[in-house]
Amino acid sequence: MLITRKIEFSASHVCRNPRLSEEENRNLYGGAANPHGHGHNYVVEVSLEGMPDAVTGMVLDLKELKAILNREIVEPYDHRFLNREVPPFDSVVPTTENIAREIWRRLDPHFSNGAARLHAVRVYETADLYVDYFGEPPCSA
């Protein structure tokens, strides 16, 4: 069974890779490469997988999930310039994909041992573009 909690944060970003030329950045990211940045109302849906507890009837207490999401995502990300204020986006381009992966990395340790496991992180940059990240398959080694 999946349970999903939605949060929002508003932040600015700029998509530029310092390893690329000005022209390459323009071609790759278009307007998102404008050097002063721009912003979005990001919407994040975090889905957890698990079975309802026999006593509580819940996969996870949503109050607990809400507190984790606020602490790990909303507080550090909301009303910030991601590239300047929120590591690792000083060195990782804050594309929607990389934001989804970073949110996964922040959340995954909270759900590695409990009954509920992280299933997916969905990040809407706008209503017309969203990314789902499901983690990486475990190393076979």
Binding site: C15, N17, R19, L20, L28, Y29, G30, V92, V93, P94, T95, T96, E97, N98, A100, R101, A127, D128, L129, Y130, V131, D132, Y133, F134, E136
Partner: protein, 144 residues
């Protein structure tokens, strides 16, 4: 692995009327969707693409190229059109949203490697909302 989804819209008219059924059977089956002069919808299409991250760009798909592909193969043909009269596939198949989803997905799949020649990104699914309440989804692997 990432799934990137892009949302598009087009406005089109259609009429549900199967040549295999009688007039009365069509009326019973399709109800108001069978009204003789047709009617329209603002269709919302989601195109989902799967792929690993390109570490230079930090992206799994170039959305500008995806937009071009969808505009060229789908929106340019379907927007502000009558599906029954102007889309060849619907002169033989009823333009239900099931058939529309298959048609859209088939067009994107057929043109995919011209736009994205590598192994990744891959077309994963097409989801069509005929109205906010009626939503249809098909996986690219369901299309031959």
């Amino acid at each position: 692995m990432f799934r990137v989804t892009r949302r598009y819209e087009f406005a089109a008219s259609h009429r549900l009327d199967s040549p295999a059924l009688s007039e009365e059977q069509n009326r019973d089956l399709y109800g108001k969707c069978n009204h003789p002069h047709g009617h329209g919808h603002n269709y919302v299409i989601e195109v989902s693409v799967r792929g690993p991250l390109d570490e230079i760009s930090g992206r799994a798909v170039d959305t500008a190229r995806l937009d071009e592909l969808v505009a060229r193969e789908v929106l340019g043909h379907f927007h502000q059109r009558n599906l029954n009269a102007e889309i060849a596939a619907f002169s033989v198949r009823v333009p239900t949203s099931e058939n529309l989803a298959a048609e859209v997905c088939g067009r994107l799949k057929a043109a995919w490697h011209g736009e994205f020649p590598g192994k990744w990104p891959q077309l994963e699914r097409v989801r069509i909302a005929e109205t906010a309440r009626n939503i249809f989804e098909i996986g690219a692997d369901e299309i031959e």
